[in-house]
């Protein structure tokens, strides 16, 4: 984030006025702050309400579910929904599948993106600008535009209905993450590299020993984005995975619907368990998320 000269704006109420006008504006500021809080609480509630509803529904019996108007709180809470839901479909098996794909994709991203970003940010070579522009131009390339040939390629390689089509592309890097890392690398002082050069360090050494250790926050951000993107991915698994044995959680969840009618209580319980790891990671590493998201927009 850009360095900003610390200069606090003068608040209304702090202006050195005296007399009734000052008091009036102070009350006004209070009221406005209060109004703002009310507004923000309402907005936040709108965003969180569906998740609370998911939580509440996950603890309802099938008869409670189909009561109209619905009770806001389940009475009594049906905790058995959770073990039942996780046995209703091979939930842990799908979790494992999702985890394999996710972890492998993070590894692939960390393999390809920092190196490319290093070449774009810290190496001087002809062709750098060309390749960087090329990489930028593919940020907006829609998966929909390439999925048919990708399907054909992966079928020729005989890897449809395996995890490979979901993992391999990560090892080719992602232009957005390369861009983010490049921006971060550009901010590391040149002198560090130059000093290492004088000491006889190669570019590989500088990359591995100086740049990467200094870039942990950026690497964490990119890893988190990759983790999240793969954890919730739907279209690619839908196309490339066929046997239910290989399903990810996103695909597996639909099975609560396919039999007779939707088992809403189970479905919501499973959804809660599906969201939980992401939510935990998110709360633990919120700083990286928010900074990374903000960086994509403000620095781009």
């Amino acid at each position: 984030m850009a360095q900003r000269i610390e200069m606090k704006p003068v608040a209304h109420g702090a202006l050195p006025y005296t007399g009734p006008r000052a008091r009036k504006s102070q009350v006004g500021t209070r009221l406005r702050a209060g109004g703002r809080h009310v507004l923000l609480v309402i907005i936040s509630l709108v965003f969180v309400a569906p998740l609370l509803w998911m939580l509440s529904s996950s603890l309802k019996t099938n008869t409670d579910i189909f009561i109209f108007p619905p009770h806001l709180l389940p009475t009594p809470p049906m905790w058995a929904n959770y073990p039942n839901a996780l046995n209703y479909i091979p939930f842990w098996h799908y979790t494992w599948n999702t985890l394999i794909i996710t972890v492998a994709s993070v590894a692939g991203t960390l393999f390809a993106c920092p190196a490319a970003a290093y070449a774009f940010a810290r190496l001087h070579w002809r062709g750098r600008n060309f390749f960087f522009a090329l990489s930028l131009s593919t940020i907006m390339l829609p998966f929909l535009a390439t999925m048919v040939p990708l399907f054909v390629i992966f079928r020729q390689l005989n890897v449809i209905d395996t995890f490979w089509p979901l993992i391999l592309p990560a090892f080719g890097g992602n232009p957005l993450y390369i861009f983010l890392l490049r921006q971060f690398f550009l901010g590391i002082p040149r002198e560090l590299s130059e000093a290492a050069h004088i000491d006889g360090a190669s570019e590989f050494t500088i990359f591995r020993r100086i740049i990467l250790p200094l870039s942990k926050p950026a690497l964490a951000t990119v890893s988190l984005f990759t983790f999240l993107a793969n954890w919730k991915d739907f279209l690619a698994p839908l196309i490339f995975l066929q046997s239910s044995d290989l399903y990810t959680l996103s695909l597996g969840l639909q099975q609560y619907q396919s039999l007779h009618q939707t088992a809403w209580g189970y479905l919501m319980a499973a959804s809660v368990v599906f969201v939980l790891p992401v939510a935990i990671v998110f709360f633990a590493a919120q700083r990286f998320f928010i900074q990374g998201i903000a960086l994509t927009g403000v620095k781009a």
Binding site: R4, L40, P149, V275
Partner: protein
């Protein structure tokens, strides 16, 4: 000379994973799909060149136009709503209020929820018979709706579902942008007697224009291609988990959904590739046009 070559070699070596990925998963598929778009190809055997047949089939296909209309509806409403709502929510957060971090977390939370989960939860909320929304509405003596089950209401309902899952991103980016607006500028305007509205219109908005511009582009590209929620709504509408894409009555038949259906339900790889290329062209044109236009409206750097 040798040193120069070594530098070039080193650069290429560092970018080689990306370069291989770009060639294999970017450039080659793009060219292949251009070729497929001029062929009849079911994915088996060799593609048979048929010239412009696929393009002609597409433009005479009413479902194709339905999908274009539905997608335009989403782009036309979704992009402005994202920008206006995103800014409207970020603005009160930018004032020095306590607990901003908490509000931001709560508003951002839906974006990390897997799209499938979000869609299923909303499907349940929108359930015409037992859903939360209708029970709230009837409690307030307001008319209830069939939402995703009705062709007239499915698009607004779906749009609401999608915005719920994406607005958090816009808000966080807008907020970061707002926090980067120099306080001295606003202060100067204030001392000059500018009203709150004029401060916003003439100082904050121009300073924020690159961020707004970025959000317009990303949400535009997003709404052109969004797939997950529409697919899940469709596949849940069919009885017994049958996938009736675009249901009810093709009111949620979006471009992406139709492309998927052509490719993976009908095995019309040629026609799907033609649709891919049209989408690619539109995405590229829109992006370039916006970048051109942005030079007039976007204020990069100091004021």
């Amino acid at each position: 000379m040798a040193k120069v070559l070594r530098r070039e070699g080193l650069g290429l070596l560092f970018i080689s994973p990306w370069l291989v990925g770009f060639l294999a998963f970017g450039l080659y598929p793009m060219l292949a799909s251009l070729y497929y778009s001029f062929t009849r190809y079911s994915g088996f055997g060799a593609p048979v060149v048929t010239g412009l047949t696929n393009y002609s089939l597409i433009i005479h296909d009413p479902v194709f136009w339905t999908s274009i209309w539905n997608t335009l509806y989403f782009v036309g409403l979704g992009v402005p709503l994202s920008i206006v709502l995103g800014l409207a929510i970020a603005l009160p957060m930018n004032a020095k209020v306590r607990g901003v971090a908490l509000y931001r977390t709560l508003i951002y939370l839906p974006t990390i929820v897997p799209t499938v989960v979000g869609a299923l939860v909303w499907l349940w909320i929108f359930n015409p018979d037992y859903g939360l929304l209708n029970s709230i509405l009837s409690g307030l003596h307001l008319p209830t709706g069939s939402w995703l089950a009705s062709p007239d209401q499915s698009k607004p309902a779906l749009l609401m579902m999608v915005l719920w899952g994406t607005l958090g991103n816009v808000v966080v980016i807008m907020l970061a942008g707002l926090q980067d607006v120099s306080p001295t500028l606003i202060e100067a305007a204030q001392l000059d007697g500018a009203s709150a509205f004029r401060r916003f219109w003439h100082v904050v908005l121009p300073a924020l224009s690159p961020v707004i511009f970025y959000n317009i582009i990303t949400s535009l590209v997003f709404f052109l291609q969004f797939f997950d929620q529409a697919y899940i709504v469709s596949s849940s509408a069919g009885a017994g988990g049958n996938v009736d894409l675009g249901a009810p009555v093709q009111s949620t038949m979006f471009y992406s959904i139709y492309l998927y259906q052509q490719a993976f339900q009908f095995q019309h790889f040629g026609r799907a590739s033609a649709m891919s290329w049209l989408l690619l062209l539109v995405t590229a044109l829109v992006t370039v046009a916006f970048f051109r236009g942005s030079r007039r409206f976007v204020n990069y750097g100091g004021i």
